[in-house]
Structure formats: C-alpha cells, structure tokens
Amino acid sequence: MTANQMSGEMNAVFTPSDSQGSQKTTVNRLAGGQIDRSRRLRFTFDGKGYLAHPGDTLASALLANGVRLMGRSFKYHRPRGVISSGSEEPNALVELRSGARREPNTRATVIEMFDGLEATSQNRWPSLSFDAMGVNDLLSPFFAAGFYYKTFMWPKAFWEKLYEPIIRRAAGLGSLSMEADPDAYDKGFLHCDLLVVGAGPSGLAAALTAGRSGARVILADEDFRLGGRLNAETLAVGDQSGADWAAATVAELASMPNVRLMTRTTIIGAFDHGIYGALERVSDHLAVTPKGKVRQTLWRIYSKRALVCAGAIERPIAFVNNDRPGIMMAGALRAYANRWAATPGHRVAVFTNNDDGLRTVADLRAKGVQIAAVIDSRPDAPALSGVEHLRGAMVIDAKGRLGLSSIVVRTASGDTRTIPCDALGVSGGWNPNVGLTCHHRSRPVWNDGIAAFVPGNDLPAGMTVAGAAVGHLTTAAALRTGAEGAAAALADIGHSAALPDLPRAEDDAPRLTPLWYVPHKKGRAWVDPQNDVTVKDVKLAHQEGYRSVEHLKRYTTLGMATDQGKTSNVTGLAVMAAMTGQTIQQTGTTIYRPPYTPVPIAAFAGRSAKEDFRPKRLTPSHKWATEQGAVFVEVGMWMRAQWFPKPGETTWRQSVDREVLATRGSVGICDVTTLGKIDVQGTDAAEFLNRIYANPFAKLGVGKVRYGIMLREDGMVMDDGTAARLAEDHFVVTTTTANAVGVYRHMEYCRQCLWPDMDVQLISTTEAWAQFSVAGPNARKLLQKIVDQDISNEALPYMGCAEVTVMGGLRARIFRISFSGELAYEIAVPTRYGDGLIRAMADAAKEFGGVVYGTEALGVMRIEKGHAAGNELNGTTTALNLGMAGMVNKKKDAIGSTLSEREGLNQPDALNLVGFRPVSKDALMSAGSHFINAGAEANAANDQGYMTSVAWSPNLGHYVGLGFLKNGANRKGERLRAVCPVKDLETEVEVVSAHFIDPEGERLRA
C-alpha cells in the first residue's frame, strides 16, 4: 500500500459522525487490518446502532465508532474504557445479547462481531454516562480497603436489615436474565500426543514441528484467528508479515490429518495426569445457535505431553487516575490499530518504561495517528525522532471523567506539563502468561532479566513451556523455543521430530527499567481497576499487617475480579514489596487457579441439565402403565408407577386405598423389576453368601428362597433381600432398589479383595428379567392362568422357587415370596416380554377384581406387614434395632458380625422397631415424629425415638406407623406422645406389634 492510498483511505474513514443517535460511521477506523470491509455488520450498544465488519470484536468496533466509555468499575462505579485487546480485559464488561440468552460480564475484547449483536453496559444506573452510584467515588476515602470489617456492626440487627441489602445491590456486576439458559452444551473427549496451548509464533512453530513428525497434535487457541501477537504486530517473519506467515502455517497444519486445530478454544485448566480442560465456543460468534447445535463444548483433552505457548500479558504502570477511558495498554493500542484498524483517538500519547512501548509509537504513526508525546520513564532510553520523546518523564495525572482529554506529565527536569490527548498507551513490560503452569500449585519464579515471573521448575507432569510464556519475548526466540519445545516433548515419549527451517524474525532483546507505579501523595492510582484497588489500598493493607500476599489479596480484593488479576497482580506485589523492603520474589504470588478464563456453568454441565440431569430407567411395564394413566415417581434413577388413578378418583388416597384393598381382598400385581438381582454361581457360591449375609445360607436347599440381611463391616444393616437357590452352584440374590449398585460392588469387593480364591462368579441380572409381584388371596389362581406348570401349595410352597414356563412355553422364574404379607409370588420373564406379561396378567386379573398397584400401595402394605424398608434401613440401624438380632449368626465368619458386638450397639435401651397406632382412630400420624413419654416435656432430653414410616391403612381404618423406640420391644401397649413440631402435629400413639396384618403369617403360607 502506498502512502497515497493510505491517506486516501484515511480521508474516507475520518468522517465525523453525522448526528447523535443514528447509526454512526466508523470515525476511528484506520486503514488495513484483518477485517472484511466488504461486509458490514450492524450492532447496538446501549440501544444505539453502530456498524462493524467481520473480524471485529465488540471492543474494536466500539473504538472504531469512537466509543471509549464501555463500563463502570465494581466499587466506585468509575467510568471505564477498554484497556486490553484480549481475554485479560478487566474493564470493558458488558451484558451481551438479551432475553434468556443475556450473558452478563462479557468481555468486549473477546466478543466476536456478528450481525445484529446487542450489548448493554452494566453496573450503572440510570445510564453508563450518568451513574448515580458514582457517588461512591466521592465517598472513596471512607471506602478504603477492608473498611467494612471495621463498621456496620451496630446495632446488631442492622447488618442484615439495612447495610447488607444496600451493599448487595450495589455490588455485583451484570445481571442474570433469571430465565433458564435455552442453549445446549456438549462435552467431549480428545486424545493427543502433544497439546499445544496457544497459536502465537511459538505455538505455531511447535505445532508445525510436531505435525510434520506425524505425532497426534492438538493446537488450541482462544482467539478466532490463529497467530497470536503475529496478527497484532507489523514485524516481519521471513519475507512475509507475521500475520501472513501465521496464515500460511495454519493452512499447512489444517492439511495434516494428525493435527487438530481448535480455534475459539480456551485451555481452561491443567488437571492431573495430562488432562486439560478446554472450552470451545462453537456458536458464540453466530447470531443464533443453529438447531441441534450447541453453544459451547467442554472438552477433556488427554495429552501425553503439553507445551504451553500462552504468550505474555502486558502490564500497566499505576499513576493517578490511570483508569480514565482512553488509557489502555500500549500493546493493545497497536493491536487495535494493526489487526482491527481501529484507534481510540486521533491524538495519542504513550507512556512506557521499555522499548516495546515504542513499537506502538511507530505502528500508530505508520497508520497516520498523531502522537501527542512519548513519555518514557527511562532517562537513558534510545531517542526517537519525529515525535516528542520525553525521556525520564512520568505521567502523574489524567483528566477527562468519561474519556481522556489530557495527561499531566512530570518531565525529567521536574516540570509539570499538561498534554492534550484522547488516548494513552501504557507499557510497564510484559508478564509471561504463567497461569496454566501454576494450576498444580507450582509457584513462578522471578526473572530479573525481564523483571517478571516465569514458570517455576515444578510444573504439572508432562508440561513444558515455550516462547513468551517462559520469558522469551522476541519473535525469533518464540519460534525457536516453540519448535524445540515440541521436539523435546515428543522425544520424551519416544517420538522423534525434526526441527523445521524457521523463518528469520526480530530478535531484539527487550530493554526495560522496571517502574510499577508513579509515586504520588494525593489522588488514587489503580492497581486492580475492576475491583478498585489502588496503590493506597495496598499500602493500607501493609500498614495493618495484611502483608502475606494471600492476606493482601483477601483484604483488598486485589486480583479477585473477573480477570483474576491477569493485569494487576504483579503490580500489586511490586507495591507490597516496596513497602516491606523485600524483593518481589520474596513477596511471592497468590495461587493461580482454574479456569484460565471464566467458563459458563452450563458448559460444565453439558447435556446433563434440567430433565437430562441423569438418565431415566424405565420399567418393563412403563409403556403399559403410561397407557393406564399411571402417576410416576422417581426412585433413584428409576421411574416407577406410584399409583394408577381410575376415572372418578380425585385424590391419590382413593387410588391407593383401592389398590391396597383389592390386593388384600383378591389380587394385585406390581412391577418389581427395579429390585436388584445378582446372579451368584460357582462351587463356593453358598459359602460366599454365608459370609456376606449375617444369617446362614450354606444349607439352603435347591428350589428354596431365604430372606437375609447383609451387614456392613461396622455391624449396621446394609441391605436386606432374598437369595434363591436355583442349583447347588447357582443363586439369585435380590437387593433393595436403592442398594442394588452398592451391594453388587460390595460383593465384588468381598470376592476379589477378601476371598480371591473362592470359586464365585457374579453378574447383575436386574435388567435381564421383568419381574412382577402377584399378591393376594387370588394370586395363585391368577398365576395359574399364566404359568404352564403346577404352582399349587404342594408344588411350590412358601419360600420356594422354580424355573417354569409361561403363556405356552416362555422360560420364566417364579419365587414364592411376599412383601405384602399376602399369598404372593414374584414371576420373572425375559425383559422384552415384560410388557406382554403385564398385559396378560392385568387381563387375567379382571376376573378376580384384581388390580395393578404402584409403589404407594406397595409401601402401605409393607408398613401394614411391618417390613423394614429404606426409611428403616437408614445406615444407622443394627439387626438388633430391627428386631432381627437372632439372625446374626455368631458361629460363622460373616461381614459385620464381629463389630456388631460392640457395647454401644447392644445397650439395654437400644432402639427397637415397633408398630404404632393412634389412640384416637382418626388421628393423623407423621413419619419423622419423635416419641416422648406421656406426661413428659417435649424436648431433646426426653426423646425416646422416632417414627420412620406412616401410612393410612384402608384395611384397619386408621393410620399405622413403624418407628424406633428405646427398649420398644418391651413397651407394647404403652401410650406415648408422637410429636412433630415442624408440622404442628402431636398424636397420642400406642405401641403395638409392627405386624398389623396377619401377624401369624398364615396368609403367606396359604
């Protein structure tokens, strides 16, 4: 491009804005840049319309449109503009999009422009330029660091009633929409030999080296355009511009099947064993997420080696009012000019302590931007020609509340000068981006050569660092160390890679004289702009003894803003070091934690949100039950039919009462597939069960079923269920629904870890069989219509089991066991026939007036029968508590039997499971009530136990309850208070047997 062309273009774009409120032309758009001028995108900020181009970020587009004021600070609500061009941005935070897709606190610097983008400023009222909370700024002397720890304590009640609500409303940044996030998110898993983090010069050289060697490579970069600073600089790489070299290299990498390029992908954290978290922004750059697609994907990357090429982040120099909109990092200023052809102003000054800042001067001049002055804190800096270069000078103040209008400079001779300008670039040097290297709590070490922290020696296993991230601040060194780093990392895993011929690039060692803050007596100089931490706050923390870096951080909130101190921490440490007289290394750093940049909570959840939080398990009769209009209930992961309402039934109790009465009066069918079923085989199967159950199993006959209780090793009851012996060497164990997984795990533990030579094989068969309970006096009659063989009392007595066929030849299993206390069976067929079987049985039941019942009726009947279930098997109850002490056989080795002997578990007043009924027949009882002796005061000291389960018994016409009562076994007939303060309920209850129905068990054996 010739000078003429450039100025021509400049003339064209430097058109002043026409009228307020209409779509402005891009007043601050320069020539060149990596934007697509052939397309125009419309966007709004605070409702005002603007134009942008593809390739813009919101920040670049706002600058190009002459907008410098983009946000307000957290505490003082100071007007703020953008200070960076990357993800480290602390100031330019906006609410992006609207409605349910509103994203608060979104950094304008990383918002990729799309047509129709809507952004709104935040943390201000009523408007960004006039914010009533700006009054905080006037009161700032009272709001010094930690002031809130020293006041607001009186009167006591005022904290919650007055002070805190005010503080909470004033604090916070953006607002959530308060609507459910409508977008979908994916999670994914990737594997590679080498993960390269960052696609700047070092990352590209590394990926090229590794890619050409054939290794599996992932190259990830948070930007939408790969190249890192190469896109922001005018420095040549070989014979090309850096940006062109980057593009060519990316093109070569894209052609390699063994290389995966991941743009818009931030490596968010280094986790154990080479696992990295990565967030890919799949659709954030689109106006609308396409149907079926996700907004973002959270990747878990399994890497054998990782090379961090994350570059460096420029740091500011603190001076009074250094937070004015228009003041930004010098490197950002030239990034906006070079990559985005945007500038915050027409007249720009630069304040630097190093040579890199001078590059901004050169680049801006090349773009035709007027340089107001260069303030160089180094008296010995190399002199620049053609601009006013004030060596040995410092910026001591800045004017312009809503946008910079001038800076005040103290020159080397001590004079004070005011220099009008509308933007100021500040360079305090560059900090290697060590964040990721510290995620395993490694502490970075100080490097005097570049006056910055570099990665320490105890990095996460498998991680190495190259380029600016390790302190090599020249392009040539970045390229070289990137390539060498990749080769070395691959050599480490036995994969050889040749170093590529790298292009020539600038290799000037950076020259810098540290300057952290400009000394000042009055005014405030910002260290952490978002959280409004000033140099004075750091000094106050020191004065009050909060000198450890962690105390400093926590007391002042330094580095706790949304940028996690990327631009502020080192400056804060330097101020503290100056106070204590220690070095910065001695002062130390706080801990860098994941994620590298903030990640939407929804992305961590992925698909497992809302109703898809966990999979649903459906029973074999689910389809049929749905057709019947069943009400379903979550039981662990299962959905079970809770009851089956019939026309005319208006309350659940009507349905449940009907199901219970029909079952006890005739027959009822219930899907019990959810109970765990474990197939136990082997020559030692019987002995194995003998050890995992507290009661004996060795001598159970073939064709017989036995009820058993399993204890944990600490003597508490783990689970109860049955074991059926199908053959000498073959059992089927059932567990409760809730404990199916845990019991299986426990059995494998016993088999593999305790008795590894037992001949026992285990496998879950829960899912393989559709199993139904058929209970009630007509159970046999009904089943006899289904089962092909004789199931008379003689052929299949109580607690018998058999392999049979049903419906004319389908293999099935039948167990004569009962949970309800009725004559009952459980019948099992291969799951695919479960739907057919429930239909057949429901049909057959009609003849008897039978029903299909749900979990509520199941629960009522088990309470009526006094069977313990989940509410009783709560992990703190022993066999003794449950009235089953006799089952714990002391003559064999069984899990839990030894420790069940401890004195605390065998006290005379131990809790016993007993039944309760209300003394007044129509009185209500509630599970969770506590028992108090009649006449005693209801307090904890008088607590006698608690009610575990309560149900209305339609058979008895009153509530029935089970509960644990101190010495309950010996208190039958006693009347107690069952108190339930949280329901405002108290019932006089009588202690009775837990077996309300058929205590002799005659029905079972009928």
């Binding site: 979908a184 994916d186 999670k187 994914g188 898993f189 990737l190 594997h191 079926g292 697609k293 996700v294 994907t297 878990r300 399994y302 698909r607 497992s608 898809d612 999979p615 649903k616 398990r617 459906l618 029973t619 689910h622 389809k623 992961m637 299962w638 197939d679 085989q681 082997g682 020559t683 030692d684 060497d729 073959h730 030579d757 037992m758 001949d759 094989q761 496998i763 879950s764 068969t765 829960t766 899912e767 393989a768 069989w769 559709a770 066929t805 049903v806 419906m807 004319g808 030849g809 389908l810 293999r811 067929v829 291969p830 799951t831 695919r832 026939y833 479960g834 739907d835 057919g836 057949a840």
Partner: protein, 190 residues
C-alpha cells in the same frame, strides 16, 4: 423358538426396532442378538477354554477385544468373563446352549434383555463418539471392545469397522435416555 403367546417389545418399547438417521449417521436399535455372560470357574480354566472354543470355533478374546466368527461373537467383559452373542432368532435360549457346552467348567447367565444394543454407522461416527465417551475412538480398531461411561451409563462400545461402524451396549432400562444422548451427539456433528 418357543411358541408362546407373549409379544416382545424392543428396549425402546416399540414393536419394531427404531432406526434413526441424523446427517450421515445411522443409529439402529438391534434387538436381534442373544447375549449370555460366560465366566470361567476357578481351577477349571483349561477345561473351560477348550469347551468354550469348541462351541465358538475360535479363541476367546483377550482383554479389550471382541471376536466374531460364524453365528457367534464374544466380547471380553472382565477377568475370566465374556459376553457371547448370537442371532436371537436361532439362539433365544442362548444361556442353556452355552451352559450345555461348557458344563460346570463355566458359569453362564442370560443377558439378552439386560442390554439395549445400538448399531451406529456413518463416516463421522468418530466425531459423535468424541462427544460421548472418553474412549480414544480414533485409535479403536475393528475387534476392540471396551466399557466406559456414556452420559453416566456404563456402556460397551464395540468397534466393528474402524471409523464407521460401532455397537453400543447400554443398560436396557435406560435405552430411551441412551438413545436420546446418541441422537443429540449425532445432531451436534451432523
């Protein structure tokens, strides 16, 4: 096949298998495979191996592998444990058939209806699996099989043809949820 009067439903509770095509990926419910678990008895390893091989006509696969041969397939599922698969129509009572073959050298358990099987085909099936499980799907070769988590469910993934043909075995009761997860992942890469 026994002549009885009960109709079967697929794991997705349909009369016929559900076949879903999303972009280039097809997800086909496959209920036409009988499955049995086969575990070797302790101290009977040699006898077990010989009998199993006699039945199958090939050696039982090593850890992480699956073998197919004739009507039979075998998948390694754990130390000393395999799943055997065969056509449902001809092998509905697979457990009895296998038990007859291995006798008391092995423990056999019917597993046919414990699982839902989805056959996934398509040239970008790998992209879909990247979004479902931590398995290194790109390195998986035909004849490899392993179990891992897919959306909180322990599932077997069996590679039938690298890059394009896989079977997923998941817990039958969660068939609908698993199907939902597979379809969503397929849509994301469609």
């Amino acid at each position: 096949m026994p002549e009885h009067r009960l109709k079967a439903l697929t794991p997705l509770a349909q009369a016929r298998p559900v076949i879903t095509t999303v972009g280039r990926i097809t997800i086909a419910e496959n209920p036409d495979v009988a499955l049995a678990s086969l575990a070797q008895r302790r101290g009977r390893e040699a006898d077990f191996t010989q009998r199993a091989e006699a039945l199958l006509g090939f050696a039982l696969p090593a850890p992480g592998h699956a073998v197919q041969g004739g009507d039979w397939g075998a998948i390694w599922t754990g130390p000393g444990q395999w799943f055997l698969e065969a056509p449902f129509a001809s092998h509905e009572d697979i457990a009895a058939m296998v038990k007859n073959a291995v006798t008391d050298a092995g423990s056999v358990t019917e597993q046919t209806d414990a699982w839902v099987r989805f056959d996934v085909t398509g040239r970008n099936a790998t992209e879909m699996f990247e979004r479902l499980s931590a398995i290194d799907i790109h390195r998986m070769q035909a004849g490899q099989a392993t179990r891992s988590l897919i959306e909180h469910l322990g599932c077997y993934v069996i590679c039938r043809e690298a890059g394009s043909r896989y079977s997923v075995l998941g817990m039958r009761s969660a068939a609908a949820s698993l199907h939902h997860a597979l379809v969503q992942a397929a849509e994301a890469v469609a």
